[in-house]
C-alpha cells in the first residue's frame, strides 16, 4: 500500500507556520516515513500540481492569482487543512479590509505601487473553497499540527480544541494576569492550543489563536474598558491577528474608529 501523500502550500503569509513541520526535529523524520511529501517549497520539494491526500495551506488569499491557485489546490486534494491564522481568518494583512485601505497601503509602502496587484481584501481560505479542518494560531502549535496529522492518518477528524486559554492557564498553575496584574488579557475569549504561552511568561494573551467557543466578547470588552482601555485599544484587542473571525470582527467594530488601520489614532 502506498503512503498517504501530503502537500504544504503557501499563500500570503510569513512562512512561520510551515516551521511547525521544519522545526519538528525527530518527528519530521518520523513523518517523512509515514507520508509521501510531494510539495513543500520551503523544504525544497516542488510539485504544485501533485494530487494529494492531505493539503496543508498556509496564508490568506490576497491576490487574484491566489484566488485561482487555491481552487486548483482544492481540486487536487482529498482533504484541505488550513495552517495558521492567515489561512484560517485572514491574518494580520486582513487589517486592510477594515477601512477599504488596500490602495492607501499600496501607495504608502511600495516604491512602484503600479506593479502591485492585490485584491481589496485579504481573505481566509474558507471564503474561497471548502475547508476540512482549521488549525489556528500565529503561529500554529507544532504539537497540534502533528496531532492533527496523526488523527487524519488514522482516518478520524482531528480534535478541535475550542476551550478558552483560561482552562489551560489553570491546568498549568499560571497566576491569572488579569486578576492579579490588571493586564488586558484576551484569554477568556481565545481558544487554547498555545499551551498558555504568554500568560506563563506574565504576558496578557493577545488572541492569536482566534475565538473560543461561546466567546462572550462583549463582557470581556466591558472588562477591558473597566481596566482603562480607550475604545480604540479595545478595538485593537479584537481586530488584530484574527480580525476576520466573525466573533472578533463583530465585537471589534463596536469599538472601532475609522482611520485605525492607517495608524491614525485621532
Amino acid at each position: 500500500m502506498s503512503k498517504p501523500s501530503v502537500a504544504v502550500h503557501k499563500f500570503s503569509s510569513c512562512d512561520g507556520c510551515q516551521l511547525a513541520f521544519l522545526n519538528a526535529g525527530e518527528d519530521l523524520l518520523t513523518l517523512s516515513g509515514l507520508v509521501d511529501i510531494r510539495h513543500f517549497l520551503e523544504a525544497g520539494l516542488a510539485d504544485e500540481e501533485a494530487e494529494v491526500d492531505i493539503a496543508f495551506v498556509e496564508g490568506s488569499i490576497s491576490t487574484a492569482d491566489e484566488a485561482e491557485r487555491i481552487r486548483k489546490v482544492r481540486a487536487k486534494s482529498r482533504l484541505l487543512v488550513t495552517l495558521g491564522a492567515c489561512a484560517t481568518s485572514g491574518g494580520l494583512q486582513a487589517l486592510r479590509n477594515l477601512d477599504e485601505s488596500n490602495e492607501d497601503w499600496k501607495q504608502a509602502i511600495y516604491a512602484r505601487p503600479e506593479f502591485i496587484r492585490t485584491l481589496a481584501h485579504a481573505e481566509p481560505v474558507r471564503a474561497h473553497v471548502r475547508v476540512d479542518f482549521e488549525l489556528w494560531g500565529c503561529p500554529v502549535n507544532g504539537r497540534q499540527v502533528l496531532a492533527a496529522v496523526r488523527q487524519l492518518l488514522f482516518g478520524v477528524n482531528p480534535l478541535d480544541e475550542r476551550d478558552k486559554v483560561c482552562m489551560e492557564c489553570k491546568r498549568q498553575n499560571v497566576v491569572c494576569v488579569m486578576v492579579a496584574h490588571d493586564k488586558p488579557c484576551m484569554g477568556p475569549v481565545t481558544r487554547t492550543g498555545c499551551g498558555a504561552l504568554c500568560p506563563r511568561f506574565g504576558r496578557d494573551c493577545y488572541a492569536c489563536f482566534g475565538p473560543a467557543e461561546q466567546a462572550n466578547t462583549s463582557a470581556l470588552a466591558q472588562r477591558l474598558e473597566g481596566l482603562g482601555l480607550p475604545p480604540a485599544d479595545v478595538a485593537r484587542r479584537f481586530l488584530f491577528i484574527n480580525s476576520q473571525a466573525p466573533a472578533f470582527h463583530a465585537e471589534g467594530l463596536k469599538h472601532y474608529q475609522p482611520g485605525f488601520a492607517n495608524g491614525d489614532r485621532q
Binding site: L31, R162, C176, N216, L220, Q222
Partner: protein
C-alpha cells in the same frame, strides 16, 4: 493547668526539619508571580513573611506590611487540589511491541508522602469533599496514592479576604478536624494543637513551652474576629429544592450576559472534580498515552455526547454549576459543595459573585415578595 503547647517563632524551622526528616516532601505557602501557592518548602524564610492578600471579586493583590507573621493572608488561587488531583496526568500508556501485541503500563506513583504546611479550614473541608468523591465506592488510584500518608499542618485563619464566606458555610475560619497539627499564629510564635497520633509524635519532638492565658485568649479572639469580619454569605440551609424550583429564573440569562464561560471559577474551586480524558497517540502510532485533565461544566466538551452539546448556552452552564454545587451535592455527598473560600469570586475575570447570584436566585419570588412588601407597608416599614 494547660500543658505545653507554645512554639517560639524561631523554632518553627525545627518543625519543618522534623517533618522532612520523617521522609515527607514538604510543601508550604510561597510567593510566586504575585500570588501565594503551596510549593516545595525547605526553610521558614521562604514563607510569605509579612505578606497579606487583598481580594475582591475579579481582583487579587499581595501587600507587604511590617509584621513577623508568615500566615497573615487568606488564600491563593489553589491549595491542596492540584497536589492530589493533578491538573493533567497520564493514567496509562500502551506500547505496540515488535510482535504486534499491546503492552500496557501505569505511571510511577510518588515515592515520598506529602506534608502540607499552612492549610486553611476551608481547604480542609474541601479535602474532605474531594475524599468523598475520589475515595468513594470506586476509589481513584491516582488520587489515593497521593492522599495516602498526606500530613497536614493547618493554620487557623485570622486574615479573611473580602471575598471569604467560610463562616456562613460553617467551614471556617477555625480548622476543626482533618489535620495532624493545627497552629494559631501570634506575633511571637504558635499555639500548637494536636489532631492525630502522627501529629502527637511530631509535637513530642518540638521544644514546646507552656502558653499563657493571654496568648490563648488572643488566638481565640483573632479567629472569632476573622469570622465576624466576613460580610458575604450564602442563603442558609439546603438550597436544593429552591434552586431546582427555579430552573427558569430570569437571573440565569442575566448572569450569562456577564459570564465569560471561561471555567476559572471551577478550576480554582477546591471541591470541583470534573475532568476529561483523551488518548494522545505518538506520531508513529506505536504508543499512546491516556491523559486525564481538568475539565469544567463551562466548556462545551463537558456536556457533549455523541453529536450534540447538551448545554450549548452559557446560562445553562452557569445553572449547571450552581445547581450542582449548592443543590444536588446534598444528594451526592451529603452537603453543599461550597466551603466558602471565595476563590470563584476573586479569580472570576469579571468578578461574578456566587453569593450574590445565589441570593438573587433563591430570593422570594415576585408574588411571595409582594406579599411581604404588603405586610411591610402595613407595618409602616416601607
Amino acid at each position: 493547668m494547660q500543658h505545653a503547647n507554645f512554639l517560639l517563632r524561631s523554632d518553627l524551622q525545627q518543625m519543618l526539619n522534623i517533618i522532612s526528616g520523617d521522609g515527607f516532601r514538604v510543601l508550604g505557602p510561597r510567593l510566586r508571580d504575585g500570588a501565594i501557592f503551596y510549593e516545595d518548602l525547605r526553610a521558614v524564610d521562604e514563607l510569605p513573611g509579612g505578606w497579606g492578600d487583598v481580594q475582591s471579586p475579579g481582583r487579587y493583590r499581595l501587600e507587604h506590611q511590617e509584621s513577623p507573621r508568615y500566615f497573615a493572608w487568606a488564600n491563593g488561587p489553589q491549595a491542596l487540589k492540584p497536589h492530589l488531583f493533578r491538573p493533567r496526568e497520564s493514567l496509562w500508556r500502551v506500547n505496540r511491541e515488535d510482535g504486534g501485541e499491546l503492552a500496557f503500563s501505569e505511571p510511577a506513583m510518588p515515592d515520598a508522602p506529602l506534608a502540607i504546611i499552612g492549610v486553611r479550614a476551608c481547604d480542609l473541608a474541601a479535602l474532605e469533599l474531594q475524599d468523598r468523591h475520589f475515595l468513594g465506592s470506586i476509589p481513584d488510584p491516582y488520587y489515593a496514592a497521593r492522599r495516602e500518608g498526606l500530613l497536614i499542618v493547618a493554620v487557623h485563619c485570622t486574615h479573611p479576604a473580602d471575598t471569604c464566606f467560610c463562616a456562613s458555610t460553617g467551614d471556617g475560619p477555625r480548622a476543626e478536624r482533618g489535620f495532624d497539627l493545627a497552629l494559631s499564629e501570634l506575633d511571637e510564635g504558635y499555639l500548637v494543637e494536636v489532631g492525630s497520633e502522627r501529629g502527637e509524635r511530631i509535637a513530642r519532638r518540638l521544644p514546646l513551652q507552656a502558653s499563657s492565658e493571654a496568648q490563648r485568649q488572643l488566638a481565640a479572639a483573632e479567629i472569632e474576629g476573622a469570622a465576624a469580619r466576613q460580610t458575604r454569605r450564602l442563603p442558609e440551609g439546603n438550597l436544593r429544592d429552591t434552586l431546582f424550583a427555579r430552573l427558569d429564573h430570569a437571573r440565569w440569562d442575566e448572569v450569562a450576559a456577564r459570564c465569560l464561560s471561561c471555567g476559572n471559577c471551577t478550576s480554582v474551586c477546591p471541591t470541583c472534580f470534573c475532568h476529561a480524558e483523551q488518548d494522545v497517540p505518538a506520531l508513529d502510532a506505536t504508543s499512546s498515552e491516556h491523559v486525564r485533565q481538568w475539565d469544567s461544566c463551562f466548556t462545551e466538551g463537558h456536556s457533549y455526547i455523541h453529536g450534540i452539546v447538551i448545554r450549548a448556552e452559557t446560562g445553562q452552564r452557569y445553572r449547571q454549576w450552581m445547581t450542582h454545587k449548592l443543590g444536588s451535592w446534598h444528594d451526592q455527598y451529603g452537603r453543599s459543595g461550597c466551603v466558602g473560600c471565595g476563590r470563584c469570586l476573586t479569580w472570576c475575570p469579571v468578578g461574578i459573585d456566587l453569593t450574590e447570584e445565589a441570593q438573587a436566585i433563591c430570593a422570594p419570588l415576585k408574588d411571595e415578595a409582594e406579599d411581604k412588601t404588603g405586610d411591610a407597608i402595613e407595618e409602616g416599614k416601607v
